[in-house]
Symmetry: C2
Subunit: 293 residues, 2 copies
């Protein structure tokens, strides 16, 4: 089977709802047409309560809503979701739970986190790190190189239109779910929502993101129970500190042959002969520059 058949979910760059063709001019003044990523509002309800309006590309509203509520501590891992209603015309998604919920108080205090903040209640997120212990999994560098090669060559909105973030959930060298969104946090939440809906164990997984390794990204990965976080981008000091506290394996600046690991080093098995790994080509370098915000 083709390596892209390994995915359970992967981007559909040809979904006409996700991009728009617009006209403009280039540096010579010549008229051009180009694809740009859509960005639309989606209002998330938890039972009767309006929680937030997210700006998203709009695919997988159900996973986005559930993942957002999980990552906000508004949905508990043991909560039973009885129904998820998506009203495309209203741009509304409603998550219904067995447990009665009320987050009036919580919604009053918002804390903004860096790198695509979503008004996360930061105190709660910090608490969520207490007492979390990630499994002593193994992470082979041969998996890393196989994964990043597959991800970089998977057809995506990013390759079509740029200006979008991607996150991939993987096991060993196999990518399972590749989500994209204009908000990086949305891509993360869609994967969290998919894991919750499908009761997917986290302990053997690897989380790949195109975004930076900030405190918010580290906290979310730990909350998901995933022991390894990989990014082609860089680190923030607090991200590194939290990853060390939680014993999360934190690998950044992963491009071509190169990477830097700053936490959870004991999980890493250096089994890849680097003589057989290509340095990142100019094409990916150029493309990578589109991965902004």
């Amino acid at each position: 089977m083709s390596e892209h058949d390994e995915y359970l979910i992967r981007p559909d760059p040809h979904d006409p709802r996700l991009t728009e063709r617009v006209s403009g001019v280039d540096q010579t003044g010549a008229a051009i047409e180009t694809l740009v990523t859509v960005e639309r509002a989606l209002t998330i309800y938890l039972n009767a309560q309006e929680i937030v309006t997210a700006m998203t590309i709009g695919d997988h509203p159900d996973y986005l809503a559930i993942g957002y509520l999980l990552n906000q501590n508004m949905l508990r891992p043991d909560d039973v979701v009885t129904e998820v209603e998506y009203h495309e015309d209203l741009a509304v998604v409603v998550v219904r739970t067995e447990r009665a919920t009320n987050y009036e108080q919580k919604l009053k205090k918002k804390v903004q986190t860096s790198g695509c903040a979503q008004g996360t209640v930061f105190g709660d997120l910090m608490e969520a790190l207490e007492g979390v212990s990630l499994p002593t999994a193994e992470f082979r560098t041969s998996w890393l190189y196989a994964l990043t090669h597959k991800i970089n060559t998977t057809p995506s909105l990013y390759l079509e239109a740029g200006a979008i973030h991607g996150c991939v959930l993987a096991v060993k060298d196999r990518p399972l779910v590749y989500m994209e969104d204009v908000g990086r946090h949305n891509a993360v939440d869609k994967i969290a929502g998919w894991m919750f809906r499908n009761k997917v164990p986290a302990g053997d997984k690897i989380f790949y993101t195109t975004g930076r390794l900030t405190s918010e990204m580290v906290i979310k990965t730990v909350r998901m129970g995933i022991p390894v976080l990989v990014s082609r981008s860089g680190f923030t000091a607090w991200g590194v500190e939290l990853a060390r506290k939680a014993n999360l394996t934190l690998i950044g600046r992963a491009r071509g042959k190169r990477f830097v690991a700053l936490a959870g080093l004991d999980r890493i098995v250096f089994d890849q002969d680097l003589a057989y790994v290509e340095d990142e080509g100019a094409r990916h370098r150029r493309k990578a520059a589109v991965h902004d915000d």
Copy 2:
């Protein structure tokens, strides 16, 4: 004078408070030391009211606080700021105004925008676009190439440690203020705060960002009254639509020789002979990839 002396404010990559040296391993398993960007909490008060806690690198807390409040519509252009107190030990900044303020209601409803959302009250921001008319300024492509060259060669945290966003306020081909932050929205807000504090007219300015051209970025630029927005990164469809509505000149994917303009085209004067512009070198291409989130 050196071209970097043109700046009124530019990054101080050697400020020890802004980066941390951490140890880890590289792809060969060899021990390495690397610089990472700091990320710390700063709680912003407007008079007696706690508004938000931002994750920031922590430079220019006064400009960040004022700019944030302006961009949240909590501070009006005609408000008189009587005092800005920064308590470094408490990580608190308090903005005091002549006018009594109370945003209890506003703080209850938060809307999350893509690309570094800050819980902006989106409805208000949309209203803010109504009736705004940007000046019929001129934008020469020769300025664009001179500016991007200067910005790319200015010593910065981005070149030192990566994983950070930058915004530059410029006039013609002269960069005036270059702000960086782990949250792109913070870099924007610091420039807005600087403009407010120094009563800087906006109509002849150019705003450059490393981040994507999202609805949020367009709205903020229009609210600041700046007629030209430039990014090395890509567009979202809503960003383009809003820029056209507000007649903002929107230029993206500006790298080396290349750029794409999708709104406000009539301000652009194509005066640069492209034979004299270098294509972006591999070094900048690679570096650009660090501009994530």
